[in-house]
């Protein structure tokens, strides 16, 4: 038994060191995600182990996984810790719904414009903060200020919806009715696959950056910016690029949010807590890793939603988020994705000891 286990551990250890390990793991995870809506109906002896996962909960989980994945490209890869990604999320949501609701434009065009707008806002934030060398606390507070600024702009300008925000327009007001073209569906299942598609795209982009020269530049900036600059990495330009890409993709789940839920208001898309919900999965799963945001989201969001839905105690899910955040930062700052490797190391060191004893 112990032999079989150690062999399995060895095999996993060898697999983990291969260059193709990460893409394979990502592909497997995405396939599992695609199968989950069916797996949850699977019953063993009349008991469905995943039955408590509602589609709605899964969709919310994937929304935050996508935002965290986009946040990770900037903050995880380059180490520029953004506490204001709600700005990009909200811009995506608002641009989509304003263009669709008032001009009858396709939500897809709204989403595209929203993400371009987000990217521009990201460039503006980046240009100002990087130019003036804001770091650490100052950078986090500056990004937060840019997000809060938008919250109050949208709250106080009646043309932008004011405090009461917007209702999602009916699909037949701007299209032939629900469907992919209208970005609205009658059931939850198509929404699930749509957000899974978004997550897949952002994850592939993240993986591609991770494996490219661009990625190495970004990691160099994260590890030691001055050294990176000294060997000729144009740090300012690459940080800007990271912000723009990250902001662009954060707007997608924002647009999805606007088309999935009935209303958007400044308090639902720009609020302080949104900034945290965006980065929470990445931190829990593992900052700067490709799988971290997805894994983290599936650790945090279902637990929070489960707590929220099963105990009618308002705020309890936030307390759970708080406990998870603190526990992860204190005890496992590399996140949940580091656990298998730690397990392997643990077993390896133990089997090594055993071998030594035997010899």
């Amino acid at each position: 038994m112990s032999n079989a286990l150690s062999r399995a551990v060895e095999r996993y250890g060898a697999f983990r060191d291969e260059r193709y390990a990460l893409p394979v793991l990502v592909a497997v995870s995405l396939v599992v995600l695609a199968a989950i809506p069916f797996l949850r109906q699977l019953a063993l002896f009349g008991y469905a182990p995943l039955g408590w996962l509602s589609l709605n909960m899964l969709i919310v989980t994937l929304i935050w996984a996508t935002t965290a994945q986009a946040w990770n490209i900037m903050s995880g890869y380059t180490g520029q810790f953004s506490f204001g990604h709600a700005a990009f999320f909200g811009l995506g949501a608002y641009t989509t719904i304003i263009l669709t609701g008032t001009l009858g434009v396709s939500p897809w065009i709204g989403m595209l414009l929203g993400s371009v707008l987000s990217g521009i806002y990201g460039l503006l934030i980046g240009a100002l903060t990087f130019r003036y060398d804001l770091e650490g606390h100052y950078f986090a507070l500056a990004t937060l200020a840019f997000a809060e600024l938008l919250r109050y702009v949208f709250t106080n300008v009646p043309q932008l919806g004011g405090a009461s925000g917007f209702f999602r327009p009916l699909a037949r007001e701007y299209a032939d009715g629900p469907g992919l073209a209208a970005f609205q569906f009658t059931g939850d299942l198509p929404y699930y696959y749509l957000i899974l598609g978004f997550l897949t795209i952002v994850t592939v982009v993240s993986l591609a950056i991770n494996r490219s020269q661009l990625g190495y530049y970004l990691f160099a900036i994260r590890e030691r910016e001055q050294a990176a600059a000294a060997i000729g990495v144009p740090t300012y330009r690459y940080k800007l690029l990271a912000v723009a890409v990250s902001a662009f993709f954060t707007a997608w789940p924002g647009a999805f949010w606007a088309m999935y839920f009935n209303t958007i208001r400044p308090t639902t898309v720009f609020e302080l807590l949104v900034n945290v919900e965006i980065l929470l999965p990445a931190i829990v799963g593992g900052i700067g890793t490709v799988l971290g945001p997805i894994v983290g989201s599936f650790v945090v969001i279902p637990v929070g939603e489960f707590v929220r839905q099963s105990f009618s105690v308002p705020g309890l899910n936030n307390a759970v988020y708080g406990v998870i955040l603190i526990a992860i930062v204190l005890y496992s700052p590399k996140g949940v994705v580091s656990w298998p490797s730690r397990f392997v190391e643990l077993l390896r060191s133990r089997t090594d000891l055993l071998d030594d004893d035997g010899a």
């Binding site: 903060t129 986090a140 709250t155 405090a163 302080l272 705020g315 307390a319």
Partner: protein, 352 residues
């Protein structure tokens, strides 16, 4: 609401039109952070003052009159003092430990409810409850430091930020679970002084006096005691402090405790003049960040200068711009200072 009484609304058009159009204006009202409306309008006495303005508006008297200007000025100074007090603990923890305490607003909320519970339970005046809240928050602060901050004090700054945010979530949820999220108040009507037509709400006046006493007390403690000197030494140079035999972890625990106690004081005085909810902490927290950065992270006088700036922007902004537009001005000022002079207007560490 407020905007119907406001000078620029009345000057723009015939006063009657301004009043008639009022229902349109508060499109932004329902969700607007209540801080301004509460801090200004929550006072029974102020209703009278604004009523007077409203009457003047109807009569078409050109505004602002010196009295009204003086009234706004008084409000701005009072509010600014409170913001200064709110920022004091935040700036102290930053100056000494280089930690941004996101839980500061949540600690204030705990103090607000502690005052409520204490004065309900004992039947004593809330003024006796404030020292209780301060002591309680000192203990809470030390516990938070020992359990969550101390283990990661040398980790990257983001980690501490995340952990204090986790504390914020837990504290606010706990308060919400016990007390619900409906507004609470002490039912205390301290009334207001009237000085030649200008109202000075007493609750805020007491709060301002307490803020100034707290500033003076903390200042004296830092300047005149050995412990205070040790704290300043640690703020200046943590390694150096360690080398000369200062127990830096103990100083950190003490600093975090004092910072939390100051949050307790700020939270404790707020029920004197305002109704409160668990969400009130966030509103004060965000502006306290602005105050701290404006004044200079770690600077005590800076906290009050920054507080006054925000107080003036908020009071005159909500008077002349309507809604919570003043908050946009606050963030623009914040971003400008962050970019041009990130060390703040009076930048420096806690000992300057």
């Amino acid at each position: 609401m407020l905007s119907s009484f406001l000078p620029d609304a009345c000057c723009r058009e015939a006063a009657a039109v301004a009043l008639a159009s009022a229902p349109d204006v508060p499109a932004s009202a329902p969700d607007v952070p209540a801080s301004a409306a509460d801090a200004l309008g929550g006072l029974a006495a102020l209703a009278g003052a604004f009523d007077a303005l409203g009457t003047q508006a109807v009569l078409g008297v050109s505004l602002p009159s010196p009295t009204i200007f003086a009234q706004y000025f008084v409000f701005a100074v009072l509010l600014g003092g409170i913001y200064g007090l709110v920022a004091l603990g935040l700036t102290m923890i930053f100056g000494v430990m280089d930690v941004i305490n996101f839980a500061h607003g949540a600690l204030m909320v705990v103090a607000m409810y502690a005052v409520l519970v204490f004065s309900d339970a004992t039947g004593l005046s809330p003024f006796f409850a404030i020292p209780f809240a301060v002591l309680l928050l000192f203990v809470v602060g030390v516990l938070i430091y020992r359990s969550t901050i101390a283990p990661i004090i040398d980790a990257p700054q983001e980690n501490q930020l995340i952990v204090t945010f986790g504390v914020l979530l837990i504290l606010i949820s706990a308060v919400e679970m016990v007390f619900g999220s409906d507004p609470q108040q002490l039912g205390l009507d301290l009334g207001s002084l009237e000085i030649s037509g200008v109202f000075v709400p007493q609750g805020q006046l007491y709060a301002l006096v307490i803020a100034l006493v707290a500033l003076a007390g903390t200042w004296l403690f830092l300047q005149r005691t050995m412990l205070g000197r040790a704290i300043r030494g640690t703020a200046d140079n943590r390694d150096g402090a360690q080398y000369v035999g200062i127990d830096v972890p103990r100083i950190d625990a003490l600093t975090f405790g004092i910072g939390a106690a100051l949050a307790g004081l700020a939270g404790g005085v707020i029920p004197l003049f305002q109704s409160f909810t668990p969400a009130l902490g966030d509103q004060y927290l965000i502006n306290a960040f602005v105050v701290v950065v404006l004044g200079g992270l770690g600077s005590f006088p800076g906290a009050f200068v920054g507080g006054l700036i925000i107080g003036f922007i908020q009071v005159f902004g909500s008077a002349y711009l309507g809604g919570s537009t003043y908050q946009i001005v606050i963030f623009l000022a914040f971003i400008l200072v962050l970019l041009v002079k990130p060390e703040g207007l009076l930048g420096g560490s806690a000992d300057e």
